[in-house]
């Protein structure tokens, strides 16, 4: 069975910097994700240090 895409309308308007804005939004989301990962790690590490645990978190 071949699935043929339904007719997608051809672009008529000039898409003003579509790729730039798409990349920008996705980059912001990825940056937030990585920032949150680092923040979570630091919070865990601080928690480990406070409790006197000798082991690093996530091991």
């Amino acid at each position: 069975m071949s699935i043929i895409p339904a007719s997608v309308p051809a672009p008529v308007l000039p898409r003003r910097r579509q790729l730039l804005f798409g990349t920008m939004f996705v980059s912001a989301a990825v940056a937030m994700f990585e920032f949150s990962l680092v923040a979570s790690y630091l919070a865990e590490r601080a928690g480990s240090a406070m409790s006197g645990s000798p082991r690093t978190p996530f091991r």
């Binding site: 043929i4 997608v8 309308p9 051809a10 898409r15 910097r17 939004f25 937030m32 979570s40 996530f58």
Partner: protein, 549 residues
């Protein structure tokens, strides 16, 4: 041409010619294999048309239909969970925990967010005068990725997995599928945001973008900055290889902040845009304080950014308290502006209009509950004997009720949009009578759903009071679920049946924004000719006024 001897087996080697057709080394090229590009393709089946579609209208419709159905199911699960909290003996303890932990996630990612996103994927390109959504294939990926995530989550939940389940593999499957749903919804959000920023017709500056499209830009920005923080929590707890009990305990608590103010308010941002657009179209008049309303929607978005308030201590800070008190300000501003718009024209009462104001009322209730929670932190000890409640600990209270209210806001707002833009979405429109019947049910159901829990948090009743109020919440969930189910039936019926001419939905003739400038439903490419350049936020009102002169 090399031909293999026939007396021994030679495995065929797959080659690809420049046209991408495959041939084996042991075969001669058949003469008939040449593809005639002018040959007519076989007609597509309905399933092929849906599965392979990059048309934002098809994607939006499937999003809307599926999320309405899931919302109805999720609300039944929520009702059962509340009933169990009230009676304490409906399920055994493990099952009660599983219901309690998973129903808010499925309400958020399986019902409320996708309903609003589906509406946006359908309506926003029309509003900005674009023939398509930005990155249509990514939008399709968002739909199917989300649907796959919902199915995985449901399977994990049903088979003793997800949060609180005892089967570790299925518990982790539920955990991962929440991440899949969030990523898929983020991809769709990105497509909508880029559509608003890049696909506007000539003359449509950001200050002239219709309110719903503008509110989706604000909401998308907040979602893009909030959901990745949730994904980070999920990732951390995935790579730790936790046991099922840890996942349901500490793992779940690590992202419990998404159900608390201010982050929980992010699902209500598009509802403000829907309200402002519906009021204008229902009265056939302009919003005279356009910039102020846009600023208020932006302010609401700013307040609802909550990735910073993940730990308990951050929910006792001055910034958190101020944001909680201020939520009501933009809500009242948009509500007041919408009433003023209605006052300026001849109002055509429709299901969409009633539902839009119902969702605003529910949002006002949620904002007031946020103010109460914020005021509670005003002194060094708690000001009131307030029980916040928590999904992570499956305890009833104010935060739980507030989240329920916000789910009701998103659901009722989504229904408002569906009925308001009904004749853009299905030929002939949604049945007007169903809209008018559903809106009050959604208002009452949504109100009871949240208020029952809010009162438990504020009044701290005895056991019989908790039982009564928990039952009230459960009844509210059932009513709201009924509204979603009837809307789903009306939507599918209108889509399959084709009602012909719209009954009594006046806004179709009165709306001033570009989605009303095309046919019902819009053709491929959305517009016969590209509209514009536009000279105001209401180009169709401009045309009407020019014609009248």
């Amino acid at each position: 041409v090399f031909t293999a001897p026939t007396d021994r087996f030679v495995p065929p080697v797959e080659l690809s010619d420049h046209r991408g057709t495959h041939m084996a080394l042991t075969e001669t090229r058949p003469e008939q294999a040449v593809i005639d590009p002018t040959a007519e393709r076989p007609p597509q089946t309905a399933i092929e048309r849906v599965l392979g579609s990059g048309d934002h209208k098809t994607i939006g419709r499937v999003f809307i239909g599926a999320s309405l159905l899931f919302l109805a199911v999720d609300l039944v699960v929520a009702a059962l969970s509340n009933l169990d909290t009230a009676t304490g003996d409906l399920f055994d303890a493990d099952l009660a925990v599983r219901f309690g932990l998973n129903h808010p996630l499925s309400l958020l990612f399986g019902g409320a967010l996708p309903l609003l996103l589906g509406l946006a994927i359908y309506v926003v390109p029309l509003q900005v005068g674009s023939p398509t959504v930005a990155f249509p294939r990514a939008a399709a990926m968002s739909l199917w990725g989300w649907l796959f995530g919902v199915v995985l989550f449901s399977v994990a939940f049903a088979a003793d997995g997800a949060y609180g389940g005892s089967d570790l593999d299925l518990a982790r499957l539920g955990h991962v599928s929440v991440g899949l749903m969030a990523v898929a919804l983020l991809v769709g959000t990105m497509c909508v945001m880029v559509t608003v920023v890049s696909h506007r017709v000539a003359g449509m500056t950001l200050s002239r973008v219709p309110f719903f499209a503008y509110s989706m830009l604000v909401a998308g920005t907040v979602w893009m900055l909030t959901l990745p923080a949730l994904l980070a929590n999920l990732t951390i707890w995935h790579i730790r290889h936790p046991g099922a009990a840890d996942l349901a305990g500490e793992g779940y608590a690590s992202f419990g902040w998404i159900f608390h103010q201010p982050a929980s308010f992010m699902i209500a941002i598009p509802v403000l845009g829907i309200l402002a657009d519906v009021a204008s179209a229902a009265s056939g008049s302009r919003q005279v304080m356009y910039g102020s309303i846009q600023a208020m929607i932006g302010f609401f978005g700013l307040l609802s950014f909550g990735a910073w308030a993940q730990v308990e201590a951050s929910r006792e800070t001055l910034v958190w308290a101020i944001s909680g008190v201020l939520f009501a300000v933009p809500v009242l501003a948009v509500l007041g502006g919408s009433v003023d718009t209605l006052r300026r024209g001849k109002v055509a009462v429709s299901g969409g209009l009633i539902a839009a104001f119902a969702s605003a009322m529910l949002l006002l209730l949620a904002s007031l509950s946020a103010a109460v929670a914020a005021l509670n932190t005003a002194t060094s000890t708690s000001l009131f004997a307030l029980d916040a409640g928590s999904f992570a600990e499956t305890t009833p209270g104010l935060s739980v009720g507030q989240f329920y209210l916000l789910i009701a806001v998103a659901a009722t707002g989504g229904l408002a949009g569906l009925f308001h833009w009904g004749d853009r979405i299905v030929a002939g429109g949604m049945p007007g009578g169903a809209g008018k019947a559903i809106a009050p049910i959604a208002l009452v159901g949504g109100g009871l759903f949240g208020i029952g829990q809010v009162v438990i948090g504020i009044a701290g009743p005895d056991e019989s009071g908790v039982k009564l109020l928990g039952t009230v919440s459960a009844v509210g969930a059932v009513l709201l679920g009924l509204a979603a189910l009837v809307a789903f039936a009306a939507f599918v019926g209108a889509r399959l049946g084709g009602r012909g001419a719209a009954e009594d939905d006046g806004p179709g003739e009165l709306g001033g924004t570009l989605e009303w400038a095309t046919a019902s439903p819009p053709p491929a490419g959305n517009f016969e000719t590209i509209p514009g350049p536009v000279e105001s936020a209401y180009p169709l009102f401009d045309e009407r006024e020019k014609g009248a002169r």
